[in-house]
Symmetry: C2
Subunit: 264 residues, 2 copies
């Protein structure tokens, strides 16, 4: 089976032009060894634009409430500005990138998050299906895919979707056709035993070791959803999940940096 890398980048890379440019060069250099899919979040640009436009952003537990005006902003910033700038930069390096929102070619179908409890997240989209046929077809044509975390419900409604989840669902869907490595890049060097010390990266985490770390409360609470997602992806066919710094992309892939999530 051919290899595919699904790589999620977040705000720490997207908000820094130099870092982004260096990352994209490193990313593009992988195109001969694997099919490439980049999933990007939005960084601080959407929040800044909302401020400029005087649109108040409501956050609940660190999550943005997507009202109609905010949906318009994230659609513009994620599917427009960020996505097209990444595509143009990759094209400049000879990497044949194509940017997709979930609406394009019905790439990612979602539904508006059902209101449970007190919080209505508005136009937040929970993923129903990734269009494996479309992605597989475009990857076979040697396109590098750049996915913006904007999905649709096939009823004409765009929806704001969590980029981590989009990366995970894409990785799972592509496992049917590829040996998939899923990389979550973030601001830390990996999963740390001491959140203040980047030298305490845990090299590998297996399910049993994960249980042990959790029971000993050695894992920072904020990492738990990411790790739960990582194991969920492994259990659905993804070959390898790595968490670490985007700057160390090549080392993340070889196991020389970051935390690799493994089966037992």
């Amino acid at each position: 089976m051919k290899k595919a890398y699904v790589i999620k980048i977040g705000g720490n890379i997207i908000d820094d032009d130099k870092k982004l440019s260096a990352f994209l060069k490193s990313f593009a250099s992988l195109r001969d060894e694997a099919a490439l899919i980049l999933v990007h979040g939005g960084g601080k640009l959407a929040t800044k634009l909302a401020e400029k436009m005087g649109v108040v952003q409501q956050m609940v537990d660190g999550r943005r409430i997507t009202d109609a005006e905010t949906l318009r902003i994230v659609t513009m910033v994620y599917a427009g500005y960020i996505n097209k700038n990444i595509v143009a930069q990759l094209q400049s390096g000879g990497c044949n990138a194509i940017g997709l929102s979930g609406a394009d070619g019905n790439a990612v179908l979602a539904h508006k998050r059902i209101v449970s409890g007190k919080t209505d997240y508005g136009f937040a989209g929970d993923i129903d299906a990734v269009n494996t046929d479309l992605l597989n077809h475009l990857l076979k044509e040697n396109f590098t895919l750049i996915l913006a975390p904007i999905t649709h419900n096939k009823k004409g409604q765009l929806l704001n979707t969590n980029a981590d989840t989009l990366a995970q669902e894409t990785a799972k869907a592509l496992s049917e056709f590829f040996d998939v490595t899923l990389i979550y890049s973030f601001e830390k060097s990996g999963v740390l035993l001491d959140t203040n010390d980047d030298a305490t990266v845990i090299k590998t985490i297996s399910p049993s070791y994960y249980e042990q770390l959790k029971s000993e409360q050695k894992i920072f609470a904020g990492m738990i959803p990411k790790l739960d997602n990582a194991f969920a992806a492994l259990n659905k066919g993804v070959k390898k999940v790595v968490i670490g710094k985007a700057e160390a992309l090549h080392h993340l892939l070889t196991g020389n940096a970051g935390t690799t999530i493994i089966h037992e």
Copy 2:
């Protein structure tokens, strides 16, 4: 040869949700008779957003000067908001639309307009090449293509490009593979003998009749660039060019509405 329709819509449709929705239904219903390419402009949304953000828009002879901040705005609005909303609406009607900027798959290569005379148009892009292979390939796969008037120079720079020109260049490029009809939709019913009377639509204009109309000064000056473009397209292989109201799309195609530009 299979037929292709390249249809350019402008602000009068884009700025009106109801009109846009009706137009897209009418547009989508044509998908069994021809390959479909929709080229959209930006309407007033970009100007409104610039106002909200306090970005002053400079216009010279009705043309926007694209400074760096304006480029960011048009990229967000054209390639993000408008493009993805059109795609999502078409998908809701079962039309397999995919939205592309010129950077996506290197669809449209351009260069930054060379400064001649006093006016520097900034990040305005003049088209060098439409990627016929890419468009033809996607059309063969039965995708309906939605093109945003944002191009790139393959050096990482996005550029703001005139949507009429993009439609014309796309129509010309596709003539190699398709019998192409190019439709410019605008707010009038066609080319009018009396600009204030929609009943004075000229049904057909041939090159000799065009010369006569011009010499008799019977054509509104603002129409001349559009007609020059129309004849240029015909001379480069486009089969038919029609100018008229988007609301009358089907009638424009059958010759029962609008102005059809013909060879002698």
